[in-house]
């Protein structure tokens, strides 16, 4: 029964603020309220400037405003990091230490370990 987080919570925060779509679109420097409506209905993804304006306006972090989008980007990036880690691991020369590949591999491994919900799949 559980569902994933919504792509954005712009409408919720606007309703809590009590502002209308035209007022918020004026504050966020949008052309008209239709543009904001498209963002709220998840038809379009706003630009970084608009996202930051919304963060400033509602006092909520961009990652919380665009929670679902943030989750999907995070999981995608994590997957790519794991792929790169595996690729680097195959290129590491066990005899030589202190090379650049090893450095990159260690950095990615540390970053993955620091991430929440990380599952250690590959052992060094």
């Amino acid at each position: 029964m559980a569902t994933s987080r919504l792509n954005n919570y712009l409408r919720t925060h606007r309703k809590y603020s009590g502002l209308s779509q035209s007022e918020v679109s004026f504050l966020a420097r949008l052309k008209n309220k239709a543009e904001l409506s498209r963002y709220e209905r998840n038809v379009r993804v706003p630009s970084l400037r608009t996202a930051l304006a919304c963060q400033e306006l509602y006092g909520v972090a961009v990652s919380d405003l665009f929670a679902g989008l943030s989750d999907s980007v995070a999981s995608d990036t994590r997957g790519r990091m794991k792929r790169l880690q595996a690729r680097l691991q195959s290129r590491i020369d066990p005899k030589s230490t202190g090379n650049r590949i090893m450095q990159k591999f260690q950095w990615i491994s540390h970053r993955l370990l620091a991430m929440p919900n990380f599952k250690l799949v590959q052992q060094l």
Binding site: A2, Y9, T12, K15
Partner: protein
């Protein structure tokens, strides 16, 4: 089943020509609220479902649809209500949403009025306090925004867990 994310509930308070709705996430976070109506001539069920409800289902992607079932339906309201319910079941099947029909049995037993329920709900969610209408006089008709509070009361009752014994009938699960 292991929970992966939040549970979103769309609660409706149905009337022949309008419905009040609320969207609640994890029973504590109110996401959206409002009243959708159709005042034109003809069959309002088509407009209410195909335009209003469909857009809500598409926007909020709820996992559960809770509908307040009123036990005292006037005969002239029975047919439009059944038409709307039939349409809702079809839409729920399309969007893979479970439906629950719920009656406010406890409140009726305690002889709580709609206004008292609304006041309790407004205390819990202060953001709705400004939409709370004044207590109506016996000769006045019901304020349209009271159905928002009724829908929220049903959503809270369902998600509160204590409501399991009050479920009058369960809908379809697709």
């Amino acid at each position: 089943m292991r929970r992966k994310g939040p549970i979103r509930i769309l609660a409706l308070d149905l009337h022949p020509r309008c419905f009040g709705y609320v969207v609640v996430e994890n029973s504590s976070r109110l996401l959206d609220w409002g009243v959708c109506s159709c005042r034109r001539k003809g069959r309002p069920s088509d407009v209410l479902i195909q335009r209003r409800l469909r857009s809500l289902l598409r926007l909020w992607r709820p996992s559960l649809l809770v509908i307040r079932s009123s036990q005292q339906i006037q005969p002239r309201q029975k047919l439009p209500r059944e038409q709307i319910l039939k349409g809702i079941v079809t839409e729920a099947r399309t969007y893979r949403v479970c439906i629950r029909l719920l009656g406010l049995a406890k409140e009726r037993a305690e002889k709580q009025t709609k206004y008292e329920r609304a006041r309790e709900v407004a205390k819990r969610f202060p953001v709705l306090a400004e939409r709370l209408p004044l207590k109506r006089k016996p000769w006045e008709s019901e304020h349209y925004s009271i159905s928002i509070f009724e829908a929220l009361a049903v959503a809270l009752m369902y998600s509160g867990g204590a409501s399991k014994d009050k479920v009058t009938s369960s809908g379809t699960r697709t």
